[in-house]
C-alpha cells in the first residue's frame, strides 16, 4: 500500500504514463480502456487525499515528496505536495479532467487515439500544476498542459481554427513568458537559490524585498498571469479560442488551466510580494471591474454564437476573481478560490452541453434556435442548471464565491461593489436569454428543418455521466461550501491575512 505522498505522485504519473503507452502504439480498443482508467484513477486519488487532508494544519503542505531531477544546481527539484489552497484546485482538475475525459472517450472524434493522448498529457500537466511546490515545475507543468491545447484547437477545432490556434499560441506563450520572467526575477532577488516555494517564502520573510523591486516583479507577474486569465484588454484570445476549441479541450482549458494564473498570484505573488500587489491593486481592480465585468458583460449581451457567449461570460467571471484578489484580504482571496473551483466546474459543464446542443441543432447560432426543450427535456434541465450555476444562483458553488468576493470588495471600494453586482444583473440577462433562445418558445423554422432530417434524441448516458459528475460537484459545494472554505481559510490565515499583508516588510 503506497503512502499518500506516493499516491499524489501516482495521480500525476498515471495520465502521463498512459499517454506514453498509447504513443508507443497501443491498439485503439485497448487505448480507450487505458485512457478511461487513467482519467478515473486521479479523480479517485484526489477524493482520497481530500478525505485524508489534515484539517488543522492546512497552511502547511501535506503529502510532500521530493524527487531528484539533476537540476539541483539551479535549486530545482520535483517537489510535490498540497496545502489548503492547492487541495481544492487539485480536486477541481481531477473532477473536470474526469468529465472531459469521459466526454472525449465517446465523442467520436477523428484520430481518437491522438486526441485522447493529448488530453491525457494535458490532464497530467494540470494535476502537476496544482501539486507542485517547486515553482519551476509549477511552470513546467503549465507548459506541458498548454501545448496539447494549441494542437487540439489547430487540428480538431471548429470554424476559424487556424486563426484561433495562432492567436491562442501568441497570447498564451507571451503571457507565460512574462510570468516566467517574473518568477525568475523572484528567484534571483530572493537570494534563496531555490525554486522551492517554501524556501522562497522563508528567504523573503527573513530578508524582505524592497518595495520598488516588489512593484516591478509584481507588475510582471500580473501582466503575465493576467494575460493567461484573460484580464481586460488582453482577453480577446479567450472567446475566439474557446469558440474554436473541441469541447474537451475547452472544458479543461477554461475550467482548469486558465486558473493557473490566478492560482500563481494567490500562492506566489500575494504572500511573497505584498507591497507589489498593494501597489497594483487599484489598477487591477479598475481594469477588472470596468473592463472584465462591465464592458465584457455588455459585449456578452451582443453575442449570437452560443460558444462565443460562454467564452465571453467566462472572461467576465474572471473579472470577479481579479476583483477579489485586489481586495488583498482573507475574505477576498478565499472568495476567489471558491469562485475558481465553482467557475471551473460550471464553465466546463456549459461547454459540454453546448456541444451536446450542437449535435442536435447543428448550429451554435442562437438566433436560429428555439423550442428544443420539447424534444430534449433532460438536456434543457441540465443546461438551465448550468446557466443558473454560472449566474450565481444559491445552491450552486458559484453563489458562495461571488457573495464572498462582493463582501470583501465593499471594504475595498463600495463603488466597485456596485459595479460588480450590476454585473450579476447582466449575467442573468444573457444567461436566461440564451437558455430561452435555445430551449423555449415554439420550435424555430430552421430547427424544424434540421429536426426533419435528424430527429433529436435526449441526452444519452455518455453525455449524461460527465455532465452529472460536474453538476453533482457544483451542488455539493453549493450546499456545503465549508468543504472548500475550511482548508482555504486555514491556509490563508497563515499566508495572507490582511495584517500580514499591510504590515510593511523589512527592507534591505
Amino acid at each position: 500500500m503506497p503512502d499518500n505522498a506516493q499516491l499524489l505522485q501516482l495521480a500525476i504519473a498515471t495520465p502521463l504514463g498512459a499517454a506514453l503507452i498509447i504513443a508507443c502504439g497501443l491498439p485503439k480498443r485497448f487505448s480507450t480502456k487505458l485512457a478511461a482508467a487513467a482519467f478515473t484513477l486521479p479523480a479517485l486519488i484526489a477524493l482520497w487525499l481530500w478525505s485524508q487532508f489534515p484539517a488543522e494544519n492546512a497552511h502547511q503542505y501535506a503529502f510532500l515528496s521530493t524527487t531528484y531531477t539533476g537540476l539541483a544546481d539551479f535549486g530545482i527539484s520535483l517537489k510535490l505536495g498540497l496545502n489548503g489552497i492547492a487541495l481544492p484546485m487539485f480536486l477541481l482538475a481531477a473532477i473536470v479532467g474526469l468529465a472531459a475525459g469521459y466526454y472525449a472517450l465517446r465523442s467520436g472524434a477523428e484520430r481518437l487515439k491522438l486526441y485522447l493522448l493529448l488530453l491525457l498529457v494535458m490532464h497530467g500537466g494540470l494535476l502537476g500544476v496544482f501539486a507542485s511546490v517547486d515553482i519551476f515545475f509549477f511552470y513546467f507543468f503549465h507548459e506541458l498542459a498548454l501545448i496539447p491545447t494549441f494542437i487540439m484547437v489547430g487540428v480538431w477545432g471548429g470554424r476559424d481554427r487556424h486563426y484561433a490556434a495562432m492567436k491562442l499560441t501568441i497570447y498564451l506563450t507571451a503571457g507565460a513568458l512574462l510570468s516566467l520572467l517574473g518568477l525568475i526575477a523572484l528567484y534571483v532577488k530572493s537570494g534563496a537559490n531555490s525554486f522551492d516555494l517554501i524556501e522562497l517564502k522563508d528567504a523573503i520573510a527573513a530578508g524582505g524585498l524592497r518595495g520598488s523591486t516588489q512593484n516591478w516583479i509584481g507588475g510582471l507577474l500580473l501582466l503575465g498571469f493576467g494575460t493567461l486569465v484573460s484580464l481586460w484588454p488582453l482577453h480577446t484570445w479567450a472567446p475566439l479560442g474557446y469558440g474554436a476549441a473541441p469541447s474537451s479541450a475547452a472544458m479543461l482549458h477554461a475550467g482548469v488551466l486558465k486558473k493557473f494564473g490566478l492560482y500563481g498570484l494567490i500562492q506566489i505573488a500575494l504572500p511573497l510580494l505584498p507591497l507589489g500587489m498593494q501597489h497594483w491593486a487599484w489598477k487591477l481592480a479598475l481594469l477588472a471591474g470596468l473592463g472584465n465585468v462591465l464592458v465584457v458583460g455588455f459585449v456578452t449581451l451582443a453575442q449570437r454564437d452560443l460558444k462565443q457567449m460562454i467564452g465571453y461570460s467566462s472572461v467576465m467571471h474572471m473579472g470577479y476573481c481579479f476583483l477579489g484578489l485586489a481586495c488583498l484580504s482573507t475574505i477576498g482571496t478565499g472568495g476567489v478560490v471558491l469562485l475558481m473551483v465553482a467557475h471551473g466546474l460550471s464553465v466546463a459543464l456549459l461547454f459540454l452541453l453546448a456541444t451536446s446542443i450542437h449535435h442536435r441543432t447543428h448550429s451554435f447560432d442562437l438566433s436560429e434556435m428555439g423550442g428544443l426543450a420539447q424534444k430534449t427535456p433532460v438536456l434543457a434541465a441540465f443546461f438551465v442548471a448550468a446557466t443558473m450555476a454560472s449566474i450565481g444562483l444559491p445552491g450552486f458553488a458559484n453563489f458562495w464565491g461571488e457573495l464572498t468576493v462582493f463582501v470583501a470588495l465593499w471594504k475595498f471600494s463600495p463603488g466597485l461593489t456596485a459595479v460588480a453586482i450590476a454585473g450579476v444583473v447582466i449575467s442573468a440577462i444573457y444567461g436566461l436569454r440564451a437558455a430561452a433562445r435555445v430551449f423555449f418558445g415554439p420550435v424555430s423554422e430552421q430547427h424544424q428543418r434540421v429536426q426533419a432530417q435528424h430527429p433529436p434524441a435526449d441526452l444519452d448516458w455518455r453525455e449524461k455521466l460527465p455532465a452529472l459528475i460536474l453538476l453533482a460537484a457544483l451542488l455539493f459545494f453549493g450546499f456545503y461550501p465549508k468543504a472548500i472554505s475550511q482548508p482555504v481559510d486555514q491556509a490563508l490565515g497563515y499566508s495572507a491575512t490582511p495584517k500580514a499583508l499591510f504590515t510593511p516588510l523589512k527592507t534591505r
Binding site: 499560441t169 475574505i331 443558473m388 444583473v425 442573468a428 430551449f439 461550501p481 465549508k482 472554505s485 482555504v488
Partner: protein, 624 residues
C-alpha cells in the same frame, strides 16, 4: 421531537420531496403530485403545531468562514415567523390540493409539482431565516422557482418571455438588496436579525440613509412595487395555482415580511419614501385593473394594488402620533397593520385566484371575461366562494378584508391626509373593478360556447375553495388573528371613539360607492361598457397600463442592446484589431516563432518543447 427539530423538518421536507421528484418521478406524474401534496399537508400540520405550541426559539450554525467573515444558516422562530409559516403552510397545502385537480391532465405534471415543492422549500427558508444572508439565499431561490413555474408552458413564447422578465426584474431589485446586506454587514458588524435588534435596543445601531433604501430595493422587486411592477401581470402566464400561491398569497408578500424583519434599521426619510411608493403602486395598479379583460390580469393588478397598500402601511408606521419617534414600537404599528392585511389578503386572494382557476378550467381555458357570463348557475360552488372572496376584498363589514383594510386606513387618517385620500380612492376603485369582474363573469347570459358548456369543478378543486372562503370570513376577527399572530396582533392599530366612527363611515362609503356604481354601470354584455361610454378615459387608462412596458421595451431594445452591439463592435475593431496588432508587434519575436511553429505539423510544437527541456537539462548537467 423538539420544536427546533420540527422547524428544521418543515424546512427540509419540501426539499426532499423536490429531490425525489427530480431524480425518480419524472415520468410518474401522479405519484409526484401526491408526494408533493402529502409534503405540503405535513408542512401545514407542523406549522399549526409550531404555532399553537407557543415555544419561540433561535438557533444557527456556521456555514462558511474566511477570517472574521462568517455566514451562518439559522432559524429565528418568533410570532412573526409563526404567522407567516402558518400562511405559507395552510394556503400552500390548499393550493396543492387544488392543483391535483387543475393539473390532472398536464403532461409535465411531475415538473409542476416538483417546482411547487422547491418553492415551498425556498419560501419557508425566507420565513425561518435568522439573518439577511440567509434571507437573500432563499430570496433568490423563490425567484428561481417563480421562473420555473411561470415557464411551465414553455412552448409558448409569451410564457418563456414572462418567466425571463420576472427573473431579471427581480434581479434588478436584488442588486440593491445585496448591496444593502453587505453594507449592513460592514456598518453594524452583523446581519443577524436578533443581534441587529439588540444593537437597536442598546442604541448601538449605526443608522444610514442608504442602508434601508438599498434593502427596500429588494422588496420593490419581489413585491412588485413601482417602478419594478411590470413583471407581475406578465407572470400570469404560469398555471393558475402558481399565480394563486406565488404571485398572490406568499412570494410577492415576502417583500413586506422582509421589511418587517429589518424594521429596526429604518429611518424616517426612507419610511416616507416607502409610504409614497406603496401608495403610488396601490393607486396605479387599481387604475390599470379597471380596463383589464383577462380574469387573471384583473386579479394580478388587484394584487399589485393590495401589495401597495401593505407597503404604504409599513411606511406609515413611522408617522403614527402618540408615540415618541424612533423606537421600534412606532414602526411596529405599521408593520403589524401590513402583516394583518398580508394575512387576510393571502386568504381571499388565493380564494379569488383559485376561483378564477376553477372558472378557467370549467370554461375550457377561456380567460376573457367578456366571453364568459352566466356561470352563477352552472358553477354554484365556485360562484358562492368567489362572491365571498369579492366581498372580503372590497371590505364588507364582518369579512376579513374589512378589518385589515380599516387598520391601514386608520393609520393613514391619523397621520397623512393625502395618503389617506389616495388609499380611500383606491378602495373605491377596488370595489369598482372587483364587482365589475364578478358581475360580468358570473351574471347574465353565457356569451360563448366555452361558457355555455361550463361545468362545476371536481371535489379536489371545490374543497380548497370552501376552506379558503371560511378563512376569508373568519381571518379578520381578533379572536382568530390574535391566535395566529400572537404578539404581532397586539400591535395592530385600532381606532376608538370618534375615529372609529369616521373610519367605519368612510369604509362603508367607499365600498358602497365603488360596488354600487360598478353594479349599475356595467352591462353583462360582450363588450366593455366603459370602452363604449367613455372612450377617452378608457384609452387613457390603457395607455397608463402600457406606458411602463413600452418604456422598458424601448430601453432593452434601443438602449441596452444597441450599447452592447456598439461595445462589441469597438471590441472587435480596436482590441482584436489595432491594439492586438501592436501587442503582437511588441512580442513580434514570439509571434513569428509561433507562426513558424504553426505552419508545421503538430510535431513541431512537441519538438520545440522537448528541445527546450533537453537544452535546460543539458545545461544544468554541465554538458556545456
Amino acid at each position: 421531537m423538539t420544536m427546533l427539530q420540527h422547524a428544521i423538518l418543515v424546512l427540509l421536507l419540501p426539499l426532499a420531496s423536490a429531490v425525489v421528484i427530480a431524480l425518480f418521478l419524472r415520468r410518474q406524474g401522479a405519484v409526484a403530485s401526491w408526494l408533493s401534496t402529502a409534503t405540503a399537508g405535513a408542512i401545514a400540520a407542523i406549522s399549526i403545531i409550531l404555532l399553537l405550541h407557543g415555544e419561540r426559539f433561535e438557533n444557527s450554525i456556521e456555514w462558511l468562514r474566511f477570517g472574521d467573515f462568517a455566514v451562518s444558516l439559522g432559524i429565528k422562530f418568533d410570532d412573526l415567523a409563526a404567522l407567516m409559516l402558518f400562511i405559507v403552510g395552510c394556503v400552500g397545502f390548499l393550493i396543492h390540493v387544488f392543483s391535483l385537480g387543475y393539473m390532472h391532465d398536464d403532461a409535465a405534471r411531475a415538473r409542476f409539482f416538483g417546482g411547487l415543492s422547491i418553492f415551498m422549500f425556498s419560501m419557508i427558508g425566507i420565513v425561518l431565516a435568522d439573518n439577511l444572508f440567509m434571507i437573500f439565499i432563499f430570496w433568490e431561490l423563490v425567484g428561481f422557482s417563480s421562473w420555473l413555474l411561470i415557464n411551465h408552458y414553455h412552448h409558448k413564447q409569451s410564457a418563456a418571455d414572462a418567466a425571463k422578465k420576472a427573473f431579471i426584474v427581480n434581479r434588478v431589485g436584488d442588486f440593491g438588496f445585496l448591496l444593502g446586506i453587505i453594507m449592513c454587514y460592514w456598518l453594524n458588524g452583523t446581519v443577524n436579525l436578533s443581534e441587529l435588534a439588540r444593537l437597536g435596543d442598546t442604541h448601538a445601531l449605526v443608522f444610514s440613509l442608504a442602508l434601508p433604501l438599498l434593502l427596500f430595493c429588494g422588496a420593490v422587486g419581489k413585491s412588485a412595487q413601482m417602478p419594478l411592477q411590470v413583471w407581475l401581470p406578465d407572470a400570469m402566464e404560469g398555471p393558475t395555482p402558481v399565480s394563486a400561491l406565488i404571485h398572490a398569497a406568499t412570494m410577492v408578500a415576502a417583500g413586506i415580511y422582509m421589511l418587517c424583519r429589518i424594521s429596526v434599521l429604518m429611518v424616517p426619510d426612507v419610511l416616507t419614501l416607502i409610504m409614497w411608493v406603496g401608495t403610488a403602486t396601490a393607486l396605479y395598479a387599481a387604475l390599470c385593473a379597471v380596463v383589464q379583460r383577462d380574469i387573471k390580469k384583473v386579479l394580478a393588478y388587484s394584487t399589485l394594488s393590495q401589495l401597495g397598500c401593505m407597503v404604504a402601511a409599513f411606511g406609515l408606521g413611522s408617522n403614527l402620533p402618540g408615540h415618541d419617534g424612533g423606537g421600534t414600537a412606532v414602526l411596529a404599528a405599521g408593520g403589524a397593520a401590513a402583516m394583518f392585511h398580508l394575512t387576510t389578503h393571502a386568504f381571499f386572494k388565493a380564494l379569488l385566484f383559485l376561483g378564477a382557476g376553477s372558472v378557467i378550467m370549467g370554461c375550457h381555458h377561456e380567460q376573457d371575461i367578456f366571453k364568459l357570463g352566466g356561470l352563477r348557475t352552472k358553477m354554484p360552488v365556485t360562484f358562492i366562494t368567489f362572491t365571498i372572496g369579492v366581498l372580503a376584498i372590497i371590505g364588507l363589514p364582518g369579512l376579513a378584508g374589512f378589518f385589515s383594510k380599516d387598520a391601514i386606513l386608520y393609520l393613514a387618517m391619523e397621520k397623512n391626509t393625502a395618503v389617506f385620500a389616495i388609499l380611500a380612492f383606491t378602495a373605491v376603485l377596488t370595489s369598482f373593478y372587483m364587482v365589475r369582474l364578478w358581475k360580468i363573469t358570473f351574471l347574465g347570459e353565457a356569451r360563448s360556447d366555452a361558457a355555455k358548456r361550463a361545468h362545476e369543478s371536481g371535489l379536489t378543486m371545490t374543497l380548497p375553495l370552501i376552506m379558503l372562503a371560511v378563512l376569508s370570513v373568519a381571518g379578520g376577527y381578533s379572536g382568530v388573528f390574535g391566535q395566529l399572530a400572537g404578539s404581532v396582533a397586539e400591535l395592530v392599530p385600532e381606532a376608538h371613539g370618534s375615529a372609529h366612527t369616521i373610519i367605519l363611515m368612510v369604509s362603508l362609503a367607499v365600498m358602497t360607492v365603488g360596488a354600487g356604481s360598478a353594479l349599475l354601470f356595467y352591462k353583462t354584455a360582450a363588450t366593455d361598457t366603459l370602452e363604449e361610454q367613455a372612450r377617452v378615459l378608457f384609452a387613457g387608462l390603457t395607455w397608463l397600463k402600457e406606458s411602463f412596458d413600452r418604456l422598458y421595451d424601448y430601453y432593452v431594445a434601443k438602449v441596452q442592446q444597441r450599447f452592447a452591439m456598439l461595445l462589441n463592435f469597438l471590441e472587435q475593431i480596436f482590441l482584436a484589431g489595432l491594439i492586438i496588432r501592436g501587442f503582437a508587434g511588441i512580442v513580434g519575436m514570439i509571434g513569428y516563432g509561433a507562426r513558424a511553429l504553426h505552419t508545421g505539423s503538430l510535431h513541431a510544437y512537441v519538438f520545440w518543447f522537448l528541445f527546450g527541456a533537453a537544452l535546460l537539462w543539458a545545461f544544468a548537467a554541465g554538458v556545456f
